[in-house]
Amino acid sequence: MGRKVLFVTTDQQRYDTLGCNGGTLARTPVVDRLASEGIRFERAVPQSVVCMPSRSTMLTGQHPSTHGVWMNGVPLPVDAPSVAADLHAAGYRTALVGKPHFEPFLDPFARFTENTVADRGLTGTHRGFEHLEFATHSPLGTLHFARWLQREHPEALGWFYPVLDGDLEVNAAGGRDTGAPQVHHNPIPPEWYHTDWVAERTIAWLDSLAADDDWFCWMSFPDPHHPWDPPASETARIDWRDVPLPAGYPESAAEREALLDTKPRHWRQWYDGTLVSNYEAPKRWVPATLTADQVREVNALNAVECELIDEALGRVLAAIDARGWGADVDVVFTTDHGEFQGDFGLLFKGPYHVDALMRLPLIWRPARSAGVPAATVTRPVGLVDLAPTFCQAAGIAAPAYMQGSPLPVSDADADARRGEQRVLTEWDSELFGVDVHARTLTRDRWVLTAYRPGYVHDGTEGELYDLADDPLQRHNLWGDPACAALQSDLLADLWDHQPPTRAPRLDVVAPV
């Protein structure tokens, strides 16, 4: 028997939403305990700050340029490499329960497997996962959770926030007390909500395994991604009126606008409602209208969703212990990208490579039988490093197609084994004539972003932040003469280490 792997992902969760990372709003004792027993990463960076490219990186161990999913709406080819397939070939039982999103959700011609398996009565096999049970934020559509709710609790379908409006645009409507966008009162009982459903279906699959099976289970919670509509019975846990404003939210509009004006122009243009470069942000919502109370309410509901995930994970871990597997299971907890939640007066995400979207929660509790001491790693790592880490835990060599390396277990291990530690992030988007292209390097205490020519950039713009002295990234040092040599060095490093690009480029076939 080898080590088993429970890979837990959430969607769009900030680093500072966990107690072990200094968060004070959500109570996350389960993840905090994993962190105290394992490795807590302080600088885990995604290779893309939107779902489909980032999730494809987790599955393939490749950068977006290489696996080819360069923006949401580009499907990962069915024959793309998959760590799940490699583990399955090595004898592992494999499952993906929850949100996949390697293929578009908006699929009127039913061309993608993710959208058709439930209606075909199937639970596998796809991309190396022998067992599939899918869920996303909405109870509508054709995924397994939606079909279950439509069948068992049809009265609940209208209780959720409608993710799309009547024009099939991402809904900008607000609700609850403050009218914040994508905030909604949802009377659904917790046991009908997708968080509990994902945990229960995971437990059911684990219960179906033999005691001596090796397994890899990707448990993928759709929350705390917007809409923020957790079960109403749980929202009293945190009164939004008591929620402090985040450090990254400047209360004064003048201060917000002055900050945004130090950054490349697409920041201010989105804030003012004149440019939308990411379909997932509601285009009819203008960030400049965001109020302090709306930030408080969004953060309160987000924290409730984080708590529900933590509790659901606790039930899964208890089930694993009850099977007698506790000592032999690696648990990895992370997310695909972050969320602004008020930083700079913004919500949601987009081509903005700052900590709100780029600093991710990442906890790795190696199997106790591996004897790895607890540690905190401050060196930068990427989600591209996850797939080789799973291979290492399974005792198989990482395939040559993977571009990352196994996660370090300490800073000393990182320094000894990984050499110069740089992490790359990409953004490309093209939607109806508006294109944005950015490349980012995280190295040492610096994060540098260079914009390639596009709809609003001429190729000279960029951002450079000192993560040590400017943790909120308020001072853009790009173009500062005092930093010219540093900027030049980081830029050369960035362009020297760009990953291979898939050719021909894959097509965008849906908005998301």
Binding site: L106, D107, P108, F109, R111, L168, F432, V509, A510, P511
Partner: protein, 138 residues
């Protein structure tokens, strides 16, 4: 308004390609994801793989220009115009351009992505044979 345009070259004569493209009742035989198609006068109704019926108005079916135009009239569209142009480049070299303009703009992407698959399937059938060609010759 959103617009999406795709094109493909097919190693066949423009007249031969038009024999398929100009027959609106054959669409489901070369458009992946459309499972059925009926034509009644200027109205065509397609059924998608999700089981959704979508009515369309045939706006132009011009064999001289080799242009087929249609409009999806389902209420979810405030506007739609689909245009397929079959353009002769050489005796056995044809360019097919499939344009989609729609409001809401998101619908242009959703429909437009299907049109790219359709062009590829049309090209494949002119290489390997297929039901649309057989029906056109029928």
């Amino acid at each position: 308004m959103g617009g999406v345009r795709h094109h493909i070259r097919i190693a066949a004569s423009a007249d031969h390609v038009w024999e398929v493209v100009g027959r609106p009742e054959l669409l489901h035989l070369w458009f992946p994801g459309i499972v059925a198609c009926t034509v009644d006068g200027n109205t065509r109704t397609i059924t998608t793989g999700q089981g959704v019926d979508m009515p369309e108005e045939i706006v132009a079916n011009d064999r001289l220009l080799r242009r087929f135009q249609y409009r999806i009239t389902a209420p979810v569209f405030q506007h739609h115009r689909g245009t397929i142009d079959v353009i002769e480049l050489a005796p056995d070299d044809t360019l097919v351009v499939y344009s989609t303009d729609a409001e809401p703009s998101v619908m242009a992407l959703m429909i437009g992505s299907g049109t790219l698959d359709a062009l590829r399937e049309l090209q494949r059938q002119f290489t390997d044979g297929g039901p649309a060609l057989e029906a056109a010759r029928g």
